[in-house]
Point group: C2
Chain length 284, copies 2
């Protein structure tokens, strides 16, 4: 596995791959890799000849009170995992490479309001603006043919699809299903903040959302009641709920009669750790 | 000359050119082409095998009270000029192609504040945000190797250079010197709004800035006095001045002792027509 830290190092490799007409996939990550990330790398291999994984903990997508400073950084372990997963190039830029004129004087992006100002965006103002600000840089720098994102961050997936459509990057976004632990907890780098009791509470998130998705599938018109009950169940089980929402899968608008695919999405705190998850739901 | 209106038509041509390993240049314009634009196309030919010119009057870079509606649109004439200039592909997207989800729900860009909030940006709030919002789309859609911009819009040139550097587009920006009429007036689509008396006043802009640049070249420390005198001269000659500013050419900061290249920039109104111009100035 090659490794590049600067744009020039990155471009030297990419240029050769382009000349060889390789199809290139990008897997953007913030590191601290787990099996969820490795599923992204595996999917990338299915869609391309060469796989670039980026590791960069992007400051502009964290708000002031958030966990940017303590976000886990485990580069050595990540390198071993990516090597074993057959990643071809690891791009680990520093802040100067991503924001050459600093954070205060950067060209920035603002995500599409209808997708970015609700749910996660309402709880974390500016979060998706930071996400598209860094992802546009990665797309422009790597110019991949394919980019792979996990469905755990479902709203992010839609925001990035929209970024690609709006700016017109000629690239395909490949979504990958959420990878879960044995008790259903969606894998996340933030799970390591949880102690045993907090983890047990966190595991309720999947089971409650999964049951809610099942109920909405058979009675889609009941979605407001299902949201309310899921919220109450989560709070009874020790989580502090930011939102539980049943939305149209395509655009996160409120469900309407006849919608063929919905998503049940939630964010909740277990102790001081914020968790998100979602389940697909196809009305029968 | 080929012509494309949709992304798919554009990509079909570009894809073939890429396969043939052609170097591709982009000349973004708002149409109503004059010799200034044709100089951009000529420069593009010097740097690439194939030249794409885009014509799109971008609504997001006009403010509410500005001339978006009356901006001259002369497509048929433009096509003839581009054909004669050897342009290979004319890209004339409609609003739906550039902003597929409408202006209200678009992923947008904000230009680097240090460059975008002064001079033109102070007079036209949000203007450069609209410029980078559309130019990033063109860069992502066409993925050119080279893009050509005129020095008449000097601040825009710097904002776009910064866009390229910040987002990491692997492309070269080629600046082209301002083309002027016989009496020195910088060519501009907006010159057609001028009647004879207004045109005579407008022609003073070049001569006053040129003289100011000459004075600063020999006495760079005098730049604040030169700014003030140039402003007074322009107003005496019937122009209403938005700004006259002597700045560092590299970043538009205030001049400092030892700077090797400055620019004298100005914006002024002749009647209801707003004109901009600038001159280079190399302290001796």
């Amino acid at each position: 596995m090659r490794q590049s830290q600067t744009r020039e190092q990155l471009w030297a490799v990419i240029r050769n791959w382009r000349r060889a007409r390789f199809r290139i996939a990008l897997v953007p990550t913030m590191g601290n890799l787990h099996d969820g990330h490795l599923a992204l790398v595996a999917a990338a291999h299915e869609h391309a000849d060469r796989v670039v994984t980026s590791i960069y903990v992007n400051p502009t997508q964290f708000d002031d009170g958030e966990d940017f400073e303590r976000y886990p950084r485990t580069l050595e372990e990540d390198q071993g995992l990516l090597e074993a997963a057959g990643c071809d190039l690891l791009f680990i830029p520093d802040d100067q490479t991503v924001y050459p004129y600093g954070l205060g004087d950067a060209t920035r992006l603002t995500a599409a309001p209808s997708l970015a100002n609700i749910l996660e965006g309402a709880c974390r103002p500016g979060h998706f603006d930071g996400v598209v600000t860094v992802v546009a840089r990665l797309f422009s720098l790597v110019a991949p043919d394919v980019a792979v994102f996990g469905e755990k961050d479902y709203q992010q997936l839609l925001v990035i699809r929209r970024l690609v459509e709006d700016l017109g990057y000629p690239l395909q976004i490949v979504p990958v299903a959420t990878v879960r632990g044995v008790r259903g907890l969606a894998l996340s780098s933030r799970n390591r903040y949880l102690d045993d009791a907090q983890r047990a509470a966190a595991e309720q998130l999947n089971s409650v959302l999964s049951a809610a998705a099942g109920r909405v599938a058979v009675a889609p018109a009941d979605w407001p009641a299902v949201e309310q009950e899921a919220r109450e169940l989560l709070e009874q089980r020790g989580l502090r709920v930011d939102y539980v929402a049943v939305r149209r899968a395509a655009d996160l608008a409120a469900p309407e009669a006849g919608d063929r695919e919905l998503r049940v999405l939630a964010a909740a705190w277990s102790g001081s750790t914020r968790l998100i998850d979602n389940h697909v739901c196809k009305p029968v």
